[in-house]
Amino acid sequence: MRKALELLAAAGEDGDQDGGIMRKVVAENAVVIFARNGCCMCHVVKLLLHGHGVSPTVVDVDELNEVKLAGELTEMIGGEEGPGSAAAMQFPAVFVGGELFGGLEEIMGAHISGELVPKLREARALWL
């Protein structure tokens, strides 16, 4: 599992300024969690996913000081663009198979209802 920031760094070096870096991260990793540094809810999500044998890619949004990246992320999450809007977003935000799955609540709900495992399998996040 490559840390998403390595990807970002690599993209930066390539001079790839077209954006879509976030999308690349999400597309290339089966499960991605965007969370604030030291967020305890993110910790809960990670534990739940670990329990299923999944190693999610965790992106620290506090380190995303690039306005473009933050804006792109906000757009993907479905929020409104604009300065400081990323701060208003609900974190942690989980992407499974390239799509926004939701937050801790959605993960928990799917875990209880049994829908989580099939989804993970679909996204090829599970080794079994």
């Binding site: 910790h43 809960v44 534990l47 329990g51 928990m108 875990h111 209880i112 049994g114």
Partner: protein, 379 residues
């Protein structure tokens, strides 16, 4: 008997013109704690004392002692020396005038004392009403009622938070409603009612739980510590507490034996559900531990001992917001577990499950009240 101190005697003497003859015995010795209402009633003959709360005597005595010390002083004043005849005549006049003035003075002080006493009574009456309400609420829920404890609390937790007071009232009616539903379910499960009627009962019962979660969410925003401490629950319920409520995996363990007959698949599904709950609970618990760790670290940041910790408090306050989210997530887990049970089981089995859950909670509450009365017996 009573040992009348100097002060008690003065009280009798100065205010005798306003009191009836029973007053000589009304002032209790300071050795007594709360005096009997009878004594207080005799003090003001025109008061009906049925709804009086015994007022602490030292307070009245202090007040009266102060006033009466003054009146004692004025009564000892005498006129200066002068011509005998005019002196005597003027002395008589003076004496009469003085006596009138003293009477006026005594009357005025008496009125002031009466006013203060009435004010005290009014306050005590209000307090009594509040206490009675609290007692009533507490007894209804079988909560621990300690009458010797500090009774200045307005609510069970001492909270004056309107959001919490509202929650406590709502919870009280929720509980009454819940007990009704449990007996309805009990009757239904042991009778031959139709599928549709059963469905209605079950749906309503589950909705009732949802209502509780909504109430709790609002209360958590008002005061998350209140919810986390389970202040509205009975002590035995609190013993089994987990992040603001019941532990779903425990509930499933309790339910399982009462759901026979189950199909093989159902049995498997319920067991798996129990396991999923357990995993989710562990994850949430560990998240909570981390939050505790972080808040503790924030609070301990900087020099402990400097005396200046404004920034640490503020930083910790911000992080406490996450606590609300945890409580909500725990409730969401409870809600989803109930929904999943509903999906796995038949209507009748769900009714059995709800009945088992409900009665288990009733037993916990009963345990609490039995335990508290046992403690009282021992004390």
């Amino acid at each position: 008997m009573f040992s009348f101190g100097k002060q008690e005697l003065i009280v009798n003497h100065a205010s005798s013109n306003r009191m009836n003859s029973a007053s000589t015995q009304f002032v209790p010795s300071r050795r007594m704690g709360i005096c009997e209402p009878i004594h207080q009633m005799a003090m003001w003959g025109d008061f009906k004392g049925n709804d009086l709360l015994p007022v602490s005597p030292p307070m009245i005595l202090d007040f009266e002692a102060k006033l009466d010390n003054q009146s004692e002083d004025t009564s000892h004043q005498t006129a200066g020396p002068s011509n005998i005849y005019t002196e005597q005549a003027s002395k008589l006049n003076d004496k009469a005038l003085r006596r009138l003035a003293q009477n006026r003075e005594a009357a005025r002080k008496s009125r002031m004392r009466k006013k203060a006493y009435v004010q005290q009574l009014e306050n005590s009456k209000l307090k009594l009403i509040q206490l009675e309400q609290e007692l009533d609420r507490a007894r209804k829920q079988g909560r621990y009622v300690d009458s010797s404890a500090d009774t200045t609390q307005l609510s069970h937790s001492g909270s004056m938070n309107p959001g919490i007071l509202k929650f406590e009232m709502e919870y009280s009616s929720w509980l009454d409603e819940q007990n009704r539903r449990i007996s309805d379910l009990r009757k239904a499960v042991h009778s031959n009612i139709g599928e549709r009627e059963m469905q209605i009962l079950v749906d309503a019962a589950i909705k009732h739980y949802s209502h509780l979660f909504t109430m709790k969410a609002a209360a958590a925003k008002a005061d998350v510590f209140y919810i986390m401490s389970g202040m509205w629950k009975t002590p035995a319920e609190r013993f089994f507490f987990w992040i603001g409520g019941f532990r779903p995996s425990e509930t499933i363990k309790i339910l399982l034996p009462h759901l026979e007959p189950l199909l093989e698949q159902q049995h498997l599904d319920i067991s798996n559900l129990g396991q999923s709950c357990h995993q989710a609970e562990d994850a949430l618990s560990q998240g909570m531990d981390k939050l505790q760790h972080i808040i503790g670290g924030t609070l301990a940041d900087g020099q402990l001992g400097e005396g200046n910790y404004f920034s640490q408090i503020n930083a910790a306050k911000d992080k406490l917001e996450d606590l609300v989210r945890f409580v909500c997530q725990a409730d969401y887990l409870r809600q989803e577990t109930l929904q999943q049970i509903y999906r796995i089981l038949t209507t009748y089995q769900t009714a059995q499950a709800l009945l088992a859950m409900g009665e288990y909670s009733q037993r916990l509450r009963t345990l609490s009240s039995c335990w508290s009365s046992r403690s009282h017996e021992r004390a």
